[in-house]
């Protein structure tokens, strides 16, 4: 008996030694709740799939908090190996050359095959530099899509609108007639500005939407943008649109309660909506477009966040990071992530796997995000690159709130947004010297 315990403790010691020999890497992320559990699952699966490396995921709060924590840690030389950075923070981290190792270089240096064409087109270049080299690894990629209450639309005798003209003249009046609030949306800058530009193939900023220079000017104060927002305000006054403040959840809740018939949110909201077991059937489709602007609507681009490999780490740790990225982008892991969360699979292979498995036969709405990201592309559909963009979004949110509460006019609001955004952009350009 005694001998047995000695043997087993020896075995334990050996095992723990083996564990120490593994290369440890850390991953800071902003995925809370159910998303965080899936992140932990991916990390556990990776650790169990091989015995050279161990990854530890750490939840650091919101996107903004994670970025700030990562920056502070970098300045103190304590940065994690992998940091998750959201779309609006991309310019900050990509602008700081030397803070990260471009993911494309990391993978090829560590012998991992990399071909940017393996990634679906709406995902490919958002986190790339001007030459098309991928800097950040797209991770939780989503796109704004239009969810609708199938029962509400059936009761009103209308279909999900394809264009804003159709919404205005046909869909909204019928829904009001049937006792519903026709429309809500959860993120004005993302849905009604950034992806509005992409959907209509309109330029969002100079310098090829900010990708090819730092002296960028925003092009938000355009006739198309003001036309859209003038209509949005009219819809609000006519009861065709309801606004519940800048918070995401406050705008989603009335849709879940069945009061609002059409809600625009993220393709990544799909998993959460499925889990909630709503008292009505829901589905989703593409964002509408204005026929008066274009008759050939284009794709949207990704939102969400990507993973950056931080610089200043040893070769062994970088090898571990590369191995993890390889694991993460494998079709099986991507499909699992897509299935559990609703975020889009980032590679064509993962998309094919989901199709083969019959995922979209079971949940047709789960495919809308990736389909919309794969629509025809244009010169303005790969994304944007602007510094201090989180503040520019805050400025937009503030001015949109003021439009919708009658504190300012559409004309004045867009002038303010243009002035303040350009001021922020020129300030950001000065931080890059």
């Amino acid at each position: 008996m005694k001998r047995l315990s000695i043997v087993s403790s020896l075995a334990l010691m050996l095992a723990s030694n083996a564990a120490f020999a593994e290369t440890q890497i850390t991953w800071w992320h902003a995925m809370g709740g159910a998303l965080g559990e899936t992140v932990n699952q991916i990390a556990t699966d990776f650790n169990n799939s091989q015995d050279e490396y161990t990854i530890t995921p750490v939840f650091k709060g919101s996107y903004e908090e994670t970025l700030t924590a990562g920056i502070a840690a970098f300045r103190a030389g304590e940065q994690p190996n992998i940091m998750q950075v959201f779309d609006a923070g991309a310019a900050t981290v990509i602008g700081a050359k030397g803070a990260t190792i471009p993911v494309q270089d990391l993978l090829t240096q560590n012998g991992v095959a990399f071909d940017i064409n393996d990634y679906i087109s709406g995902v490919r270049y958002f986190y790339a530099d001007a030459d098309g080299k991928m800097i950040g690894m797209p991770f939780n990629s989503s796109s704004p899509i239009m969810y609708f209450n199938v029962d509400a639309l059936a009761a009103s005798g209308v279909e999900a609108p394809k264009t804003w003209e159709e919404f205005e003249t046909t869909t909204a009046p019928a829904l009001i007639e049937a006792g519903y609030i026709p429309l809500a949306q959860s993120h004005s800058p993302w849905i009604f500005v950034e992806n509005f530009m992409s959907r209509h193939n309109l330029p969002f900023a100079t310098n090829d939407n900010g990708y090819t220079g730092s002296d960028t000017q925003i092009l938000v104060n355009s006739d198309e943008m003001k036309m859209h927002w003038t209509n949005v305000k009219e819809w609000l006054d006519e009861g065709k649109y309801a606004w519940y403040g800048a918070s995401w959840d406050d705008n989603q809740a009335p849709f879940e309660e069945g009061k609002v018939a059409i809600w625009m949110g993220s393709s990544g909201s799909f998993g959460g909506l499925m889990q909630k077991d709503l008292p009505f059937e829901f589905s989703a489709t593409y964002l509408p477009y204005w026929e008066e602007i274009t008759t050939e609507p284009t794709q949207t681009f990704i939102g969400g966040a990507s993973l950056f490999a931080m610089a200043g780490k040893s070769d062994e740790e970088n090898a571990a990071t590369a191995a993890f990225f390889e694991f993460l982008t494998s079709p099986e892991v991507q499909y699992m992530w897509h299935r559990e969360t609703g975020y889009v699979p980032i590679t064509t292979a993962a998309y094919e796997l989901a199709k083969e498995d019959g995922h979209y036969d079971r949940f047709p709405a789960a495919e809308v995000g990736i389909q919309q990201l794969s629509l025809a592309s244009g010169e303005n559909t790969k994304g944007y690159r602007m510094g201090f963009y989180p503040q520019i979004r805050d400025v937009m949110n503030r001015e949109f709130g003021r439009i919708l509460t009658d504190e300012t006019s559409v004309e004045a609001a867009f002038e303010t947004i243009e002035t303040e955004a350009n001021e922020l952009l020129s300030r950001f350009a000065m931080t890059q010297n």
Binding site: S247, D394, G401, T431
Partner: protein, 293 residues
Amino acid sequence: MKRAGFSDRWLPVLFLLPQLTIIVIFFYWPAAHAVRSSFFLQDPFGFGETFVGIKNYTMLLDSASYLRAAWFTVIFVTLVTFLSLAIALLLAVKADKVIRGAKTYRTLLMWVYAVAPPVAGVIGLVLFDQSWGPIKDFVAQFGWDFRLGVNYFDTAFTLVVMSVWKQLPVNFIFFLSGLQSIPRSVREAALIDNRSAAGRFWDVTFPLLAPTGFFLLIINITYALFDTFGIFDTTFKGEPGNNPMTLVYKVYLDGFRGNDLGGSSAQSVILMVLVLALTIFQFRMVERRIHYT
């Protein structure tokens, strides 16, 4: 008489050293750093920076949103300070007269003190929520379409109410102990001179409470300026939007959310100057006008 003193002139310095070290490391060094940063525009990761002189400051003075926040801060601080002092004084005067169950009554008035500001914010969200808040339902009966997070005034209203509620117990405790330290003989003498309770309060009790009141005034102004941050942060649910905000919240937004180190340092320096002015005012007033007996 022999004065007690140190024989070695370095000994007192040695004793003071730990305290001085802490002050220098945690207060002066960061403050100096902030002043320096406020004249630069800096890459958040620390790779590059440009000297811009006083541009970070002039930008603030030109910025409509900063002036809007400054104006809101003035109104907010005035309202919160006045209301929390006035209500607490009223409660303390009334509690001072309670004879039966005095302790229970006072404890009930004080327990809110244990609530942290972010929690107060969450309680405010629950009470005032735009879709299911009970207070929203209540005021709807009077035709007030209350919409927290949508309407600027309604949001400001909620922030003021929650900030006042959170601060009441502190003021209450101080006022009550202030009242209880007024000598019995003075009160009895006043009772003979003046039959009106209100008259006695304004002529005798209120002036005797002045030291406490002045101290609380300073405490409340700094509370409303700085410590209400948690209430704002939880009420906004991560999206400031067009909601009213104080200058301290703006420092956080630009510095921590936006990574604009130069701009937010300039804002911090402005706040430092404000606090400095407040402190100087406090000491001057203490020396000249207010007599602590």
